[in-house]
Symmetry: C2
Subunit: 386 residues, 2 copies
């Protein structure tokens, strides 16, 4: 079966909240029920649950069986997949392969993360599980600290100013104003970013995505069956995962994520598309510098010039290359194991003309980039209106 013969036929997302008051399974079930209803399916053949930190934060693993039970669908084949903050992205990859394998027809893929029931230091420690525990985490450096090193080097090497990078969170916060499910509804300016509290020099509060609870779920089906369930199926044109050396210290160059380049190259090749064919883009802006670097590493512009793309409104929803149209990780929110799935849900809504106030005009192809660790795992998906 050709890759493009997998289609997204249903979408469910719940509002990202700083503190939801809901359990892991309540978060997931709410999104899953919405997706199942949206698709109009009854039987689900398999389910893949993306999540990073449930073992560490909630002392809960076995999310496949947990969620199947909570959905009242015990019996179905299901398991958890994990690749740090790219867990949602790789859950999609697992689901796409399941449909392509011919063993499963209707497949549910989702991501869930609950980050609000523990202290910030505990969550900060949890996020460092994405890096090498023995060689890096034990030094005491935090995940935002590692990204701060990247930001410092990036700004130095390419002569980019903080105010250039700061355009990214400003764009995201603007877009999130129209997304009722976004975590943050607050317009910010470049000055707000530059004057916000320092988290890890040079990164300030508004350079960083926040901690939140959320879940997003898609329903996949073979494309030839998709029209039975929906008038607006969206085809999966590429599903590519790549890695890089796990740790920042192992890299010769820290301002390029080779994992992004590898995954994007493979994805464009498989989809027979080029960056210029992409009408709407969701990138992993866990930190402002990562959003800017993504535009370069995915092939949309040259190294050091990512922030230039944001000038003159090119990346606004009515611009040439709309980015993070629902608010991105920064403002829609970054419940880590769910973020990759939120991106795919939002692309699907865009490509099926169901994005409401966030809708961009005439989008036929969209790309999402989900990053785990310090660019150590990258999942790139290309979706097309079918």
């Amino acid at each position: 079966m050709k890759l493009s013969n997998v289609a997204v036929i249903g979408v469910g997302t719940i509002p990202v909240k700083s503190s939801s008051g809901k359990s892991l399974s309540e978060l997931f079930v709410q999104a899953a029920k919405e997706a199942i209803e949206d698709a109009g399916v009854s039987k689900i053949d398999a389910m893949y649950v993306g999540n990073m930190m449930s073992g560490f934060l909630q002392n809960q693993e076995h999310l496949g069986s947990l969620m199947a039970s909570a959905l009242g669908r015990e019996g179905m084949p299901t398991y958890k997949v994990e690749a740090a903050c790219a867990s949602g992205g790789v859950a999609m990859n697992a689901g796409v392969k399941a449909v392509l394998s011919g063993l499963d027809r209707i497949v549910l893929v989702g991501g869930v993360e609950k980050m609000s029931d523990k202290t910030t230091p505990k969550v900060t420690a949890g996020l460092m599980m994405a890096e090498d525990r023995l060689k890096v985490a034990t030094t005491g450096v935090t995940f935002v600290g590692l990204n701060a090193m990247i930001a410092r080097e990036y700004m130095h090497k390419y002569n980019v100013r903080h105010e250039d990078i700061a355009q990214f969170p400003v764009l995201c916060h603007g877009n999130a104003l129209d997304n009722p499910k976004a975590q943050f509804h607050k317009k910010i300016t470049v000055d707000d970013v530059l004057q916000s509290p320092l988290v890890a020099d040079p990164l300030r509060l508004y350079d960083c995505s926040g901690l939140g609870d959320g879940a997003a779920v898609l329903v996949l089906a073979p494309k030839e069956e998709a029209k039975k369930f929906t008038d607006t199926p969206v085809a999966v044109a590429a599903s590519s995962v790549a890695t890089d050396a796990l740790s920042l210290y192992q890299r010769k160059e820290v301002t390029v994520f080779e994992g992004s380049r590898r995954a994007a190259n493979e994805a464009f090749g498989r989809a027979h598309l080029a960056p210029s064919d992409i009408d709407v883009l969701e990138v992993h802006d866990a930190f402002s510098v990562l959003g800017v670097m993504a535009l370069e590493d995915l092939g949309f512009t040259g190294k050091g010039s990512g922030s230039k793309l944001l000038l003159d409104g090119q990346c606004d929803r009515d611009g040439k290359l709309p980015i993070n149209t629902f608010g991105g990780l920064k403002a829609r929110g970054h419940p880590v194991g769910a973020s990759g799935m939120y991106q795919l849900a939002e692309l699907t809504l865009q490509l099926s003309n169901r994005a409401e106030k966030c809708q961009v005009p005439n989008a036929t192809a969209g790309l999402s980039q989900s990053v785990g660790g310090i660019g150590s795992t990258v999942a790139v998906h290309i979706l097309r209106r079918s």
Copy 2:
């Protein structure tokens, strides 16, 4: 592609040890290098790492990228899959689907667990992540406690004596004597089991698998290419995963694992085989009662009569239905996220006539059962000499 067109072309297992002194990545890399060398492959297209507790015990997630880096193979698509103690079994399922999808050709699947660097109470708490944290684990019941409840009910309902069930660990300890990679090399008797210290009434020490470190890895390939790499490829005739209600309290009947029945029914159907066609069997004997129940739930005998199969040497290596021929979870060892992969590695060695002192005569078809939680997830695989 037909399911039977996936083949195992390489196997790597390391000795299970009560305390290995090795890190998670050292454990995995040793097994992976052995498997890669055994297969004689150079490029690996994708890797799936099964593991349950690394986040909780080692504060380490992101095992896909970690292991790819540690193998010197950064770049490859890889992620972790988890379904509690069935993590090794579901990693195989993910790998089989990847090959069948046509997106990946040579796929490495593995399982790894390190349980020796924390206290027994910490590991005991970790194992309860397989059950519902909020509704069950918070009561203070342990995982062995839940299995003790099953044992009590099973013995009562079917009028089975402890000495009947105790035959299972006796068989496993006997088989492990010939396996140099087994955790325990100690012949035991039924009396030894009955007189060993009580862990959770009625389960005693020798009814329970131990805590250990281990890793096992397979290399998969499309069957039509397998002969390029090995003279003795073993075909995957079925790879089935099923679930049941997550928690014991949600079940009407606790002495039957519906997940085993569902997965076995699907697997036999897909393989066009019946229990009577199986020449060698690996079941998930984390506790003696589970080994006995597995024989029933998988269709090899009626309810309550599992232990009768073990009488008269029927399940010995030269018997009609050899079981757990390398020692099973009880005596080869049960590093939880790796156990399902050890089973598959051992079946592969049997079916390719490479099991050395553990070899059974004339085996052409083998079945493995890997269980997560209280029978909440079950992965059943059928392998055939090709």
